[in-house]
């Protein structure tokens, strides 16, 4: 069992008071996670004591920076159980990671008439890059349907697969429903020999990740949702696959380099890291990975699942609340609406009670159109949340309903 009180002490922002001295109740971790003090302090320390550009100079600071940067890569590799650190590319965001693979993959493999399969519940960052590819290469983007629980409609997904399918790119854990992709979907792609990309923005922070056990060919996630700083994302690709792919951007640092400790880089991963990388941010991600690993991803995952089910049970008792995909197996994320009250009103009302939730379309407009909704409210959990916070949230929901539908 996690010691949540001790964890909360690690996050300075949780001491913040909102407006009329309300305790902050942060239920928007799916948008971005708060940062533990150790991450904040280590970033400060890096800039204060060790900072220089990486993989370029041979002076002491360059070595120290490069060591820290490459060490972070090893931590990511271990964190997602990749075979090699050559498979770990640092980007500025998960969005850039998807733009990297879409551009690089398409320039080698996509021709007119080819098809790429997504689902209707993808985040815009896993739709728009593919639209850009479609416009450039005259390929087709197909959208798999979802069922009422917020899971991929397996029959429909299967019916979309053909010899024209070149790639499947889908969310691992839905940022609207909190549902986790069924392993059968990944297996189907593997059996058909179609490469599959998992968007791990939500999953990396909430469930233990093993890219080999999952069977995905590509996996992307962002640092900031994993208690790390903004400005760093990860792209993982199987070594034999990304070795064949051309670079995404050109610039400095793409070729082999030398530093005093003798480290040299081959094509991978530097081939995909043009320009000075987000090195301090990547280091911060490594620190965050150490932090969550020490607590145990399984323990964090269990705690957040407990919170999710606790909240779901309480919310299902409220007849004025519609939970979207209520029957799905949710993890850490619950989208809902109060009947006849716009999600903006809910969020503003909760805000003055100190409660931070997300309202809007969650960068999932195709899904909102599919659900025939204008917007939803969403609460999401991090390791620092508690049952007491959910009780306060539930009570505030009741007050909100009373206020707007009196």
């Amino acid at each position: 069992m996690l010691d949540i009180k001790k964890i909360r002490d690690d996050f300075p922002i949780l001491d913040k008071k909102i407006l009329d001295n309300k305790d902050l109740i942060y239920l928007d971790t799916a948008a971005s996670a708060q940062k533990p003090k150790v991450v904040i302090d280590e970033i400060n320390s890096f800039y204060s004591n060790n900072y220089a550009n990486v993989s370029r100079g041979v002076h002491t600071l360059s070595v120290e920076s490069t060591f820290r940067y490459e060490d972070a890569r090893k931590k990511v590799q271990k964190f997602i159980n990749a075979d090699s650190e050559r498979e770990i590319i640092f980007t500025k965001s998960a969005t850039e990671s998807i733009n990297l693979i879409s551009n690089s993959f398409a320039s080698k493999y996509i021709n007119e008439g080819d098809e790429i399969i997504l689902t209707v519940m993808e985040h815009h960052s896993n739709i728009i890059p593919w639209f850009l590819i479609r416009d450039r290469y005259k390929c087709k983007i197909l959208f798999a349907n979802i069922d009422s629980s917020g899971n991929i409609d397996q029959n429909h997904f299967e019916s979309l697969i053909s010899e024209k399918t070149k790639l499947v790119s889908i969310t691992h854990l839905s940022n609207v429903f909190g549902t986790i992709v069924n392993q059968k979907i990944i297996n189907l792609c593997n059996q058909a020999g179609i490469p599959i990309l998992l968007d791990g923005c939500q999953s990396a922070a909430h469930i233990p990740i093993d890219v080999k056990a999952l069977g995905c060919d590509y996996y992307v996630f962002s640092g900031h949702k994993l208690y790390a700083p903004t400005g760093v994302g990860v792209f993982y690709g199987k070594e034999n696959l990304i070795e064949e792919l051309p670079p995404y951007q050109g610039g400095g640092g793409m070729i082999a380099d030398v530093s005093t400790d003798g480290a040299t880089f081959t094509d991978l991963p530097a081939k995909f890291e043009a320009g000075t990388p987000p090195l301090v941010e990547a280091y911060g991600l490594g620190v965050a990975i150490d932090y969550v690993s020490e607590l145990g991803m399984s323990e964090i995952s269990e705690h957040e699942l407990r919170l999710t089910n606790y909240a779901l049970n309480k919310m299902q008792e409220l007849d004025f609340v519609d939970i979207h995909g209520a029957n799905g197996n949710k993890h850490s994320i619950i989208s809902f609406n109060i009947k006849n009250v716009h999600s903006h009103e809910v969020s503003s009302f909760l805000d003055v009670e100190g409660i931070a939730i997300r309202a809007g379309h969650h960068c999932c407009q195709p899904l909102m159109k599919h659900l025939n909704l204008n917007s939803t409210a969403r609460l999401s959990f991090g390791m620092y949340n508690t049952e007491e916070e959910i009780d306060i949230f539930i009570n505030a929901l009741k007050n909100c309903r009373d206020f707007f539908t009196k």
């Binding site: 716009h342 999600s343 903006h344 206020f403």
Partner: protein, 144 residues
């Protein structure tokens, strides 16, 4: 109940949010524009008719949105109907100042005005766009 919330959701806002006035499409109309809030997906369509004396003879809107955006659109149509364009433009700039918290030098609006009910939006910076969506649609329709 928090005072900020009470100020934001005054009775008149909730009323217009639930039962917006001038909801529909002007027939005929000679100006129209779509308003869109990309943050949340709220949207509206504004239509109005300007006669040959530069007076807004009729103005209506349709769309979906939160109470703030609907009430603001509804109150806007009530306020602008029958106004000359130059006066309407002054009201536009007064209103945008009012809801963004710079309400010291208003030219045509005063505290007696129903639009003043939206002043509370200033306490919620992220909601300013909800309140101004219809107004920016009006401005862009004028230019069209």
């Amino acid at each position: 109940m928090n005072d900020l919330i009470k100020e934001l959701y005054q009775e008149i806002i909730l009323d217009h949010g639930q039962s917006p006035r001038n909801f529909g499409e002007c027939d005929p109309h000679n100006k129209s524009a779509d308003g869109h809030n990309p943050l949340c997906g709220d949207n509206l369509k504004l239509t109005f008719y300007i006669n040959n004396e530069d007076v807004i003879e009729d103005i209506k809107f349709t769309g979906e949105g939160c109470a703030i955006s609907l009430a603001s659109a509804s109150l806007m149509t009530e306020k602008l109907k029958g106004k000359k364009i130059d006066v309407a433009e002054e009201i536009f700039s007064d209103f945008t100042n009012l809801v963004s918290g710079t309400s010291e030098d208003l030219k045509v609006l005063n505290e007696e005005d129903s639009l003043y009910a939206l002043k509370g939006v200033g306490g919620f910076p992220m909601r300013v766009k909800c309140a101004t969506m219809a107004w920016h649609a009006f401005k862009s329709a004028l230019k069209s």
